[in-house]
Every structure is written in structure tokens, then in C-alpha cells.
Amino acid sequence: MAIDKLTGENSTLFIRSEQLFDVARRKSLWYMGFGIACCAIEGLMHASGPRYDFDRMGVFFRASPRQSDVMIVAGTVNWKMAPVVKRLYDEMPEPKFVVAMGACASTGGPFREYPNVVMGVDKVVPVDVYIPGCPPRPEAVQYGFIRLMDKIKAQTEERLAHARSDSH
């Protein structure tokens, strides 16, 4: 961030601003719905539907990968789809996260015996949170997002602890 050029790596201003940006990063996760199969109906449509309403948590649907922070892989990834997943992941701007939603995206699920299916999307892109379920309930997806928010917080804390330890 430009701020650390001004005030050096471990000044309180840098740490405070990093914490502020971390809270902002957690509280406004825009997801690029990558609805492949049945999980898309449950995880993207119902979760942003009237009863479970992702908008409450600041999670918002953006169609283009350029404007999204989280990629929800909702469905089975097979060999024809893997290059598309990889390319979309590369197109997303940097603080990006991947949520592997459902059994098929986490480990290949009910179709992992078939040679054309990739056994888990973590073979193609680094995954942050796995959500078991086939399809997981919308609450399970929201619980997955809460776990993702905690993970982002933990990452920033660990980075700042590293910065603080340098300063002493």
C-alpha cells in the first residue's frame, strides 16, 4: 500500500490502516457466481434469495471476474471445464479467494470414479474454504463464508504480527 512507503513497514499508522482495510475486505466480499451444476441453484440463487439473503452480509453478485473477490466454484469440474476455471481465477484482481462449494468441487463427490472428472477443484486453483454437502444448504454456504471471513482476519493478523515482530 502507498501508506507503507510513507511511514515504513511497521509503524502504527500502517498497522492500523492494514487492519481497517482488512475489515473492509471481510465485510464486502463480492462473489463471481461460477454456477456449474446443482450447487448453483442452492448456493447462488437461494442464498441470495429472500429467505437466506446473502446481501445481509455484504456479499453481492458481480458478473465479471474483474470486479469480484471470491470465486464460488459450485458444481463438478471436469477436464473440459478446468482450463476455464484456471483462466477465470487468473483474471481476478489480487486479494482473491476461492470457495469450493459442494462435494463435487471439494473432492469430486459422487462422480469421482469417472476419469473425465477432476477430483476436487484444488487440483486446478488454490482453495480457501471447502463446503461439504450435496448440495449444501444455503445456511451451510453462509457458514462457509463466515469461516472465510475468519480466515482472512487470521491471515492479516499473522501478517501484522510478523510486521510487529520486525519492529522490536
Partner: protein, 339 residues
């Protein structure tokens, strides 16, 4: 204080007004759309989700801003500015009250239309420079729509100017004071065809549903803003909302009597210094609320249907209505002189 300092202070006031407006409008949109769709809208971040938009803006600030390799760098970098600055400049002429305008321009209305016509240029630059088929299509649509509807929008505003007798927005508002037949406020909304024509062409001009072809999520991925990320996308997003505010403010000024309350004499209002601007903004937000109800319900019109609507219906009828109003005013003047 010398002239330069005042100019900078007024500019900062306009910028602050625009940013605050953008933040409040984005929050209001998500809340109104939520309530319209039987759900809650932002709740978890801050009390009733009030901190949601600040968090969004902060996140957009902190995101990486990739410039794709195959992009025309200069235009790609300049486009958000060319879209953002005109909608900022349009704030200058808005009549918050007799004394509270940032600059009381004698040709306020003309200035706003002139400034608003630069935006399609910015959108074209954004769409074409990002070397993406989707944004090219979005940009072509936006230019096709907004250039077409400059003319009917202006023609629909002219009857009001003729009735008020001046292009200065402050005078237009003052001309609407008083009441007709003791009960009905003397607003220009009663000139209903002008209102309808102005409203429809204004919707197309600012890219509101049902005419949001430029940024049609369901067809062109994210319209002309497909390749933009982080704060550049923030600028485009913000300018779209400030266009809505300007359009609603114009509606209120031209047809709903600016900062005046229906049965309260203007002098009593301006006695309390800060009341007129507050009234003006509240009335604009009520109009924006109705725009949001439209945004949450109506489907999108196809591009060729919209252009057909523009050239075959809006333009001829707004010209015809301009003539009819002229005749009516002449007739009423002759009657007034006769009595």
C-alpha cells in the same frame, strides 16, 4: 477571501456532496431493492448495515488494479475520469435554495445538459479501450441510446423553460411558487405530457431500468465496465449513481417546485436558512425512491425497440408538444391582457 479560495471551497463542497450522495444512494438502493424483494438488504455490517457502502468503497480502494495487456492504456486510464468529472460538474448548477447554489448560473439548465452530453464520450472510451467484445457492445449501445435521447430530453424541458421564462434554475423554481385555484400548488407537473416525455428520455439518458442496456448484467456480462476493477470501477459505479441524483434533481426542479413546500409561502421557507436545501434533497430522494421501484421490477427493453421508441415517438411528440405549449402560453397571455 480572494476569488480562488472561494472557487476551491465550492468545488470541494460539490465533490463532498457527490461522494456523500453516492455512498447514501448505494446503501439506499440495496435497502430499497431488498425491501422490495421481501428480503432485508445489508444488515450485518454496522447498525442496519449503515457501514456497508463505506466498507465497499474501502475494499475497492485496497484492491489490486490490473490493466490488461491488450488494452489501449491511455484511453483505458482516462475513461473513468471523463465519465466521473461531467457528473461532478453538473452539481454546480443544482438550485438547493436561492442562496445555497454552488454557482447561480444564468443558463443553469443548458449547462447541465451540455455537461451531461460528455458522458457518452467517456463511456465509449471505456468500452472501446478495454478491448473486450462485451464492453464494446455495451459502449455502442450506451452511445446509441444517450446521443439519441439528448434531443427529446431537451425538447421536453423547453415547455417548462417557456412557462418560467428563464433558463436559470433558481428562477424556474421561484416561478412555480404560489397556488392556482387556492388549492393546487402552481407546479409545472400539471403540464403532464412534458413531464412524461422528460421522464422517459431522462430514464434512457441515465441508463436506468427499463433502459439499462449499457450495463445489462444478464446479456453483456458487466456492460462497458467489464474490464474495470477496484477504484476505476468505483468511479464508474459512483458516476452512475450521481447521474441518477442529477436526473431526479432536475425532475424536482422543473416539475415539482424545487425546494418549495406546496402551501407554504416561499418567504417563510427561506427565513430558516438551512430548510430549503434539506427540502430539496428530501424531495429528490423521494423521486429516486420511485426510480428504484422501477429498477427492481421492470424488464429491459431491447435496443432496437428503444431506438424505434426514440425516433418514432419521443422526438416528434416532444416537438409537437413544444409548439402546443407555445400556443397555450400565447393564448393565456392574450386572455390575461384581454381581461
Amino acid at each position: 477571501m480572494n476569488i480562488w479560495l472561494i472557487a476551491i471551497l465550492r468545488f470541494l463542497a460539490a465533490l463532498a456532496l457527490m461522494l456523500v450522495n453516492g455512498v447514501v444512494l448505494i446503501y439506499m438502493l440495496r435497502k430499497v431493492l431488498g425491501r422490495l424483494h421481501v428480503r432485508l438488504g445489508p444488515m450485518d455490517n454496522g447498525p442496519w448495515g449503515l457501514l456497508q457502502t463505506p466498507f465497499d468503497v474501502l475494499k475497492l480502494l485496497s484492491k489490486e488494479d490490473p490493466t490488461p495487456k491488450a488494452v489501449d492504456k491511455a484511453l483505458f486510464w482516462l475513461a473513468p475520469a471523463v465519465v466521473f468529472v461531467p457528473s461532478l460538474m453538473a452539481y454546480i448548477a443544482l438550485p438547493f435554495s436561492n442562496t445555497w447554489t454552488i454557482a447561480n448560473l444564468p443558463l443553469g439548465l443548458l449547462f447541465i445538459f451540455a455537461v451531461m452530453s460528455i458522458i457518452p464520450l467517456g463511456i465509449l472510451m471505456a468500452g472501446w479501450a478495454s478491448n473486450n467484445k462485451w464492453s464494446l457492445l455495451g459502449a455502442m449501445r450506451a452511445v446509441g441510446a444517450q446521443v439519441t435521447y439528448e434531443v427529446p430530453m431537451l425538447m421536453a424541458a423547453l415547455p417548462v423553460v417557456m412557462m418560467a421564462g428563464s433558463l436559470n434554475l433558481g428562477d424556474i423554481v421561484n416561478a412555480q411558487s404560489g397556488t392556482v385555484l387556492w388549492v393546487i400548488p402552481n407546479w409545472y407537473i400539471w403540464n403532464v405530457p412534458a413531464f412524461i416525455l422528460f421522464f422517459i428520455s431522462g430514464l434512457i439518458e441515465t441508463g436506468q431500468t427499463p433502459f439499462d442496456m449499457a450495463e445489462a448484467e444478464s446479456e453483456l456480462v458487466a456492460g462497458f465496465a467489464t474490464e474495470y476493477s477496484s477504484m476505476r470501477f468505483g468511479l464508474l459505479f459512483l458516476s452512475e449513481f450521481s447521474n441518477t441524483f442529477i436526473f431526479a434533481a432536475l425532475l424536482v426542479t422543473l416539475f415539482f417546485g424545487g425546494w418549495q413546500l406546496p402551501w407554504v409561502p416561499a418567504s417563510a421557507l427561506s427565513a430558516i436558512g438551512f430548510l430549503p436545501p434539506v427540502l430539496f434533497v428530501v424531495k429528490t430522494y423521494i423521486v429516486i425512491f420511485f426510480l428504484m421501484v422501477i429498477r427492481g421490477t421492470l424488464p429491459r427493453v431491447r435496443v432496437d425497440q428503444m431506438l424505434a421508441l426514440g425516433w418514432k415517438f419521443l422526438l416528434p411528440s416532444s416537438l409537437a408538444w413544444l409548439m402546443v405549449t407555445g400556443v397555450l402560453i400565447k393564448v393565456s397571455q392574450v386572455l390575461a391582457v384581454g381581461r
